[in-house]
């Protein structure tokens, strides 16, 4: 039952990623065509455009949400692939533990960066 629940979350996270990462990709990689959320013109990845997006609460919140669901989806997917190699139960536990620690560590780093960047962009006005 527990694995079924994890798998359902994996699928649900995929649907959330589809929208959030889809938006991120459209802004970053078709910016030359769409010019969305790049108020200073030019490339979407320029410092001015990055700061403009960091200053918007919408982007800070969605960056953290995307980070959470993408880490879960990616690391759970990796765990599924590794478990298919028929690991010993003790190794499975160790793999799960390492992936949880890595996931929480990266979630902490990314969340701190998104909040700090929002504060920096806010201070610049």
């Amino acid at each position: 039952m527990r694995e079924t629940k994890y798998w359902t979350w994996h699928m649900a996270a995929g649907v959330v990623i589809l929208f959030l990462l889809g938006l991120h990709m459209l802004i970053m990689h078709t910016g030359g065509i769409t010019h969305w959320f790049a108020p200073h013109g030019g490339e979407a990845i320029s410092k001015e455009n990055s700061l403009a997006r960091d200053g918007m609460l919408f982007f800070t919140v969605t960056y953290i949400l995307l980070l959470l669901v993408a880490l879960y989806h990616g690391l759970y997917g990796l765990r599924t692939i590794l478990f298919e190699l028929t690991l010993k139960p003790a190794v499975e536990k160790a793999v799960s533990f390492v992936l949880v620690v890595v996931g929480l560590g990266l979630l902490g780093l990314g969340t701190w960066a998104a909040i700090a960047a929002h504060a920096i962009a806010g201070a610049r006005g």
Binding site: T30, L106, L109, G110
Partner: protein, 145 residues
């Protein structure tokens, strides 16, 4: 709680790589795994690199470390992998939830499998993925400027 019965994975990594006689969906599965692992590897590095902006370092700007053709090419590959993984993923979720596979029927010869019922969905998703990759390539090649 029922105990999970464990079966040995006799084929190991070859079981992922060899599509055998299982048709195009088996290769779609393989590509889904490879693109997923590629995106994950990029994503973990992306978290570190983009977090540097909180310390005032924008290492992807012109003249900085990541402003090299090899990284631009890598980014395009990630974009293409995302396009494929996302659209094939939509198909997988729909099939998992029972959509696009038809209603259960009696197995009367000549058999019609749910694989062939969902195949138009696979084709439609692959065409959409190609359109997205083409749009991304247009941007990456600098044609959009």
């Amino acid at each position: 709680m029922a105990e999970i019965k464990r079966h040995d994975n006799r084929l190991g990594l070859w079981g992922w790589l060899g599509g055998g006689r299982w048709g195009v969906e088996r290769y779609a599965y393989l590509l889904h795994r490879l693109t997923g692992l590629g995106i994950l590897a990029y994503f973990l590095m992306h978290i570190f690199v983009t977090s540097l902006r909180a310390t005032g370092r924008y290492v992807w700007l012109k003249g900085e470390f990541f402003d090299r053709p090899i990284f631009k090419m890598g980014e395009f590959l990630v974009f293409a992998a995302f396009a494929y993984h996302a659209l094939n993923g939509i198909r997988l979720v729909l099939v998992e939830l029972g959509f696009a596979v038809g209603k259960p029927i009696e197995p009367v010869y000549p058999y019609k499998t749910s694989l062939s019922v969902q195949r138009p969905l696979l084709v439609a998703m692959m065409i959409l993925a190609l359109v997205l990759v083409a749009a991304g390539g247009y941007e990456f090649l600098g044609l959009a400027k």
